[in-house]
């Protein structure tokens, strides 16, 4: 009896040990494995779904790096910080990827970052905008601007262009992104001379914001800053309008997914936000090549799709310049990325691994995202543009 158990246990062990072997040797020989941890399910699934589709499309446009086929390995981080850390561990230890794309939101990238940092595997995040994500880390990069920039531009837009003086805030305390962005907005808005008349809080997953919106309405603001993700923005705007709070709403890059329009319908009309990309403003050669092909296959291109693709292209470019799949060499190449013409614009990886690039101001009009203006990273006042945006 005991003997039989032992045999079964040994057989099971042997089987388990033999399984990962072929995958591993294959990865060594003729393919390059790039991992991705993205929210495919949960509260911010739309970001992950978009960026994954974009990254895959980018891979199909550029299927080989250094003459080797690229294999993308996806792990769902379920819009959750703990799952994000698990996902990175799995990509690093089990899948043995050479570099990682992810995650869509700051909180998850912050949770997964230290694991990759320790293992020396570079991460390129498509859209994590909180400054802390890359701060003090050697292996974490991003292809998007950071929140101090978009918070400042949103405050300037509210104060100078819209001439608003009394702002109200709703802050999701569980998201590093929302807390940070609200803070940068507040600092800049009050520095310009504006006043924050109401500050309300919520928690990721909340669906009911009527208590917050009623409290905000009682304080009579003339503008509402809502640096939350698309579901929260759509639901909160609906409830605000239901409660008779009809002031202009400004949001951050998290608003720019078609799920916002789908959920918010007529209620999100007029929403303005700072975003990474809008088709009308895209004019790089890569954009001209990517967008028509992508739209032919999937319909309208989304911002998060583009950012996922840009993360892949920047990473591919770095690996080619590094002429190696060694973590340290990819890292060095990533850090020296200069004037890379991606789909979302021209980017240079600056201090701390952050991309220095322009942002666009977008507004929801007639149930669609419409381009309003481009703001260059130097920090000029956002000017509405009539013709095509500035060419570099």
């Amino acid at each position: 009896m005991k003997m039989r158990h032992l045999v079964v246990a040994l057989l099971a062990l042997g089987l388990a040990a033999s399984m990962p072997a072929p995958a591993f040797s294959q990865a060594k020989s003729d393919t390059i494995k790039i991992g991705a941890f993205l929210p495919m399910t949960g509260g911010v699934a739309a970001y992950g779904q978009g960026s994954w589709q974009g990254a895959q499309f980018a891979r199909d446009m550029k299927p080989t790096i250094l003459g080797k086929k690229v294999e993308l390995v996806l792990v769902d981080d379920k819009s959750d910080k703990i799952e994000a850390a698990n996902a990175v561990t799995r990509l690093v230890e089990k899948e043995k990827v050479v570099a990682i794309i992810g995650s869509s939101i700051s909180g998850n990238t912050l949770a997964g970052g230290p694991i990759a940092e320790k293992a020396g595997v570079p991460i390129v995040s498509p859209t994590a905008t909180n400054p802390l994500v890359t701060q003090g880390k050697k292996y974490i990069f991003r292809v998007c601007f950071i929140d101090p920039f978009q918070g400042e531009m949103a405050a300037k837009y509210a104060y100078e262009t819209l001439k608003k003086r009394k702002a109200a805030l709703i802050i999701d305390k569980a998201q590093d992104y929302c807390v940070g962005l609200a803070d940068f907005f507040e600092k800049n808005f009050t520095r310009l001379g504006g006043q924050i008349v109401a500050k309300t809080y919520c928690q990721t997953g909340d669906k009911d914001f009527t208590a917050q919106m009623s409290a905000i309405k009682a304080k009579n603001p003339d503008v509402l800053y809502m640096p939350n993700y698309y579901t929260e923005v759509a639901l909160a705007m609906k409830q605000a309008k239901d409660l008779g709070l009809n002031v202009p709403v400004i949001s951050g890059d998290g608003a720019q997914d078609k799920a916002l329009l789908d959920i918010g319908k007529q209620y999100v009309e007029g929403l303005m936000f700072t975003g990474h990309f809008e088709k009308e403003a895209a004019n790089t050669p890569l954009a001209r090549q990517f967008i028509p092909a992508y739209e032919k296959k999937y319909g309208k291109v989304g911002t998060f799709d583009v950012m996922g693709a840009d993360a892949y292209f920047v990473l591919a470019d770095a690996i080619e310049r590094a002429k190696s799949t060694e973590g340290a060499k990819i890292r060095a190449a990533l850090a020296s990325t200069k004037n890379f013409k991606g789909i979302s614009g021209t980017m240079t990886i600056g201090e701390d691994g952050n991309a220095v690039k322009s942002l666009v101001i977008v507004q929801v009009r007639n149930g669609d995202f419409r381009y309003v203006a481009t703001v260059e990273p130097s920090g000029a006042k956002p000017e509405p543009k009539k013709a095509a945006p500035k060419k570099k």
């Binding site: 779904q49 809080y201 909340d206 009527t210 208590a211 409290a215 639901l235 008779g244 789908d262 319908k265």
Partner: protein
């Protein structure tokens, strides 16, 4: 000003609370009769929303047809769930059924993710439910009127079935003693299936009202309302249908008042709801409405 603010927040609280109450009715009814905490209740609600969503969007049914069809389909789902998952463990210890319920919950969520995808969908609210009335400076969304009305209709419907029909009498018997009921010649399995059908249809109704108020549906949307409805049911005295509705209202108003009066603590609203659950279980485990079984 202060009074308007307070009254507006009370309206907000009732709007949220009546939704919790509506979802809790089915939860507590199933518990009251077969002593099973159906953890899949929130996910059944989610399926109800998707049925209604596809009814309107893909088959372009008028909303009321779509809602009725969704309730029927969800009832069928409830029966299937009972036959497929709970019947095999009917005579096993109660903990087995509880674990099965958790399994069913995960199954529904993951099937939902595979079939419907993780990307959230916007729920189309019929015009008559999206209006807002202004009464003396207070904003009253139409749903604040409709949800309690529907809750009352469903509550009386369920109470009618339980107290005035033969099936209902059998349900009450099962809640007292399943074995004896079986010996009396009652087809216990059929009655339990009916219980699941009614409970699931009520969940679908709750889900549709929920989706009209918060028009975002995704496969994981049932988890939190499910937990909240559970708290509401325990608050009211689990197994007691009227208590579930009251518990829901109380929970909704408590949550809204917490956020309204102590905005700094807004992040803890779920913690407060579950803290309330712990307090109730510690100090008054039978809930507000006492120990009465659904009689």
């Amino acid at each position: 000003m202060e009074l308007t603010f307070f009254l507006q927040q009370m309206i907000n609280g009732v709007a949220l609370g009546s939704l919790y109450g509506l979802i809790a009715i089915g939860y507590t009814m199933v518990y009251g009769i077969i002593r099973l905490i159906n953890f899949a209740h929130g996910d059944v609600m989610m399926m109800g929303c998707y049925f209604a969503y596809f009814g309107i969007l893909m088959f372009s049914m008028p909303w009321w047809v779509s809602f009725a069809v969704a309730m029927v389909l969800t009832a069928v789902l409830g029966i299937t769930m009972d036959k497929g998952a709970y019947l095999p463990v009917r005579n096993a210890p109660r903990i087995s059924a509880l674990i099965t319920a958790i399994g069913v919950s995960f199954l529904l969520e993951n099937v939902g993710l595979v079939v419907f995808g993780g990307r959230p969908k916007g729920f189309a609210t019929p015009a008559m439910f999206s209006e807002v009335y202004e009464v003396a400076g207070l904003m009253v969304p139409a749903l604040v009127v409709w949800t309690p009305l529907l809750t009352l209709v469903i509550l009386s419907g369920v109470l009618f079935i339980i107290h005035r029909t033969k099936t209902g009498r059998a349900m009450r018997c099962i809640s007292l003693d399943m074995e004896t009921t079986r010996l009396m010649g009652v087809d216990v399995n059929r009655i339990i299936s009916v219980t699941f059908a009614v409970g699931s249809a009520a969940a679908a109704a709750g889900g549709i009202m929920w989706a009209m108020r918060y028009p975002e549906i995704n496969p994981l949307m049932g988890i939190i309302p499910g937990f909240k409805a559970f708290v509401a049911a325990v608050l009211g005295g689990i197994g007691n249908i009227t208590g579930a509705m009251l518990g829901g209202l109380l929970l909704g108003v408590a949550e809204i008042l917490l956020v309204a009066l102590m905005p700094e603590l807004a992040g803890y609203r779920d913690a407060v709801a579950f803290g309330l659950l712990i307090l109730i279980l510690l100090f008054r485990p039978t809930g507000l409405m006492g120990t009465k079984l659904p009689d």
